[in-house]
Amino acid sequence: MDRPGEYYFYTEGLTVGYHGVPLIKDIKISLKKGEILTLIGPNGAGKTTILKSIIRQLAPLGGVAVLDGRAMGDLSGKELSRKLSVVLTERIHPEMMTCRDVVSTGRYPYTGKFGVLSEEDWAVVDEAMDLVHIHELADRDYTKTSDGQKQRVMLARALCQQPDIIVLDEPTSFLDIRYKLEFLSILQNMSRTRNLSVIMSLHELDLAGRISDKIACVRGDKVDRFGTPEEIFTEGYIPKLYGMTVGTYDELTGDLELPAVEGEPKVFVIAGNGTSTAVFRRLQRERIPFAAGILWENDLDYPSARALAVRTVSVPAFQQISPGALEEAKGLIDSCDSVLCPLEPLETEAGTGMAAGLSELLAYARSSGKIRTELP
């Protein structure tokens, strides 16, 4: 167990909720300077409630949050505003403000009695806008920008507050994939080069797994798991966290699949080498139950076959196809109406050696007359 002193931010038995009713109890999370902590969990689990309590918008119902060695409750509003800045889901409706004006409000804790920005303050504003690549938006009316642009303006605003820690509530929700990646990569750069600590909530599990140093999973009335992405994304945990009853989630690839079509398999897919996942998904859309094989368990098509096929014939990675597996696959072809083989070509040298079994399977399918090039 690490000593608390090593952490820039940690909570001890923190209990949060509204109107005195605890929602999430005994939260224990921690992060060091320059680390990124992400909260994940189902809708309504209380991620926003935790974040609101951390940024002192909501009074904690118990326990303590410690920032830079001091209980957060003891910090004055001004001290806190120089250490911590936020990007919230709450929309702002500023009147007659350009994007630069909105960004410049981040300098508030540093300006004097009348809030007039100095030359240095404006330089910090410009630098923050450069960091998030919104210089061309500077003189645009904030209310006339797109959601994605607004989000970046708000990030620039938070950065020019020069915080040690930044708290973001679902910052990527309204962004398209290009801006999602850009946004998170800015955060990553800031955390690595400037030692900025980040706490945020994300809906995108795949991105959470890539960017986070620590992940906290909020479920029910507690933080169910807290640890590194490797500790969190263990097999079967994510469906449990989200209470998934339909479909599947692959912890390794982050792929989501809709529920498999049940019933006796009608189509057999000779699959492999990543050629067949699209075919599996097409069969799922057309509501045709199917079987797939023979797949090595390290094949790109293997996770989707497991998620979508009624039966999957597989062999362990880097091993010869066993006679048993070949027999099983032949049996399935016998019971199916048709066979698809996206995996080409099997007739040439590629179909020898390790893949000899597959060539044999294709030949068997041809002789049965069930081979098709199109879906039935």
Partner: protein
């Protein structure tokens, strides 16, 4: 890059100064016109003499120093206070058509003042201006409290205004009732006052309103930084280190003092609180509180001087109530704001 920023800031600054100049000149022009125009027209050239008191025409001096100048001064001070009060309420409720009149605060102040007046008529007491202000403040705070409660229940801003207008009607109805049945000769004055008017101002009145409005306006100006934080919404304001609860209380108190002071002296004056901040915002092309606060004050002063001039002279010797004139110029602005906002929503 710094040069670009510098150039842009200089250009903006130029616009701000020009806008301030326009407002100041308007105040001055309407002030002079208010003093000169009337049943007896006084040439502008006489004014320096009258103000300097070096042996000008005595009738002129009486008219100017006894009637028109204090009235114009009152219109300027109260108009400025009213516009500022409206600006604060719009900030507080995040609602562009909030104002002391639309939220029923003026009417609440009017009701309590009328009750105090009627109650004291029998006692043959001369009510001091201070008592009137305190009575108006009590009325304003009661209505303000009610509107704040309503705003917690209703999250739709149009409904807030509707409830404010309803409160205003209720208070006005009770005031009319009280005024109608308080049967006394002095009630004629009360009747005029309850419709809103800048007439009958004395220098004593002007001094007191200058003190009250002046101190309050300075307090408001000192709050321009927290107001700018609050414009970003409550959550962000909190993160910037603003103590929102204290800020709310100050905002409510200051706006109530301003609208109470206006009501105590001039009765309810409509639309200034909404129209002026909006017009000023467009004139300056910004909503920065540090500019808006002095600009609203000047704008309100110019607007009320202009409207009072019309109220007094258009159908002379009959005098219109001030709200009649402010409504003619103010109501279209409100309609414009509503349409404009609707358009922005649907875009």
């Amino acid at each position: 890059m710094r040069n670009i920023t510098g150039g842009r800031n200089a250009r903006k600054k130029g616009r701000y100064w020009a806008a301030f100049l326009v407002l100041a000149v308007l105040v001055l022009i309407f002030m002079v016109l208010s003093i000169c125009i009337g049943t007896v027209n006084i040439p502008v050239s006489e004014i320096p003499g009258i103000l300097g008191k070096n042996g000008s025409d005595d009738t002129y001096t009486d008219i100017v120093m006894g009637i028109r100048f204090p009235r114009a001064a009152a219109a300027g001070i109260l108009g400025g206070g009213l516009a500022l009060s409206g600006y604060l309420l719009q900030t507080f409720f995040h609602n562009p058509i909030a104002g002391p009149f639309t939220l029923g605060i003026s009417s609440g102040a009017k009701l309590v003042v009328a009750l105090v007046m009627v109650a004291s008529l029998g006692n043959a007491l001369r009510l001091s201006s201070w008592v009137m202000i305190v009575a108006a403040f009590v009325g304003a705070m009661i209505c303000m409290g009610f509107v704040i409660l309503m705003s917690k229940v209703m999250d739709q801003m149009s409904m807030l205004i509707v409830s404010g207008v309803m409160i205003g009607y209720i208070c006005s109805a009770i005031t009319d009732f009280v005024v109608t049945f308080a049967d006394d000769a002095d009630i004629v004055n009360l009747h005029n006052w309850s419709k809103g008017s800048f007439s009958g101002m004395t220098w004593d009145n002007v001094l007191i309103m200058a003190i009250v409005v002046g101190i309050t306006a300075i307090c408001v100006f000192l709050m321009s930084k927290p107001i700018s934080a609050y414009q970003m919404g409550e959550a962000y304001a909190k993160n910037m280190g603003l103590n929102v609860q204290v800020f709310w209380i100050l905002l409510v108190l200051l706006s109530s003092v301003l609208s109470a002071c206006v009501t105590a002296f001039a009765g309810p004056v409509s639309f200034v609180g909404i129209a002026v901040p909006h017009l000023v915002k467009n004139l300056f092309g910004t909503a920065k509180p540090i500019l808006m606060i002095p600009a609203c004050f000047l704008g309100g002063a110019a607007f009320c001087l202009f409207c009072d001039l019309l109220a007094r002279t258009m159908f002379a010797p009959t005098e219109l109530s001030i709200s009649t004139v402010t409504a003619v110029f103010g109501a279209p602005v409100v309609i414009y704001i509503m349409i404009h906002r609707k358009k922005e929503r649907t875009e």
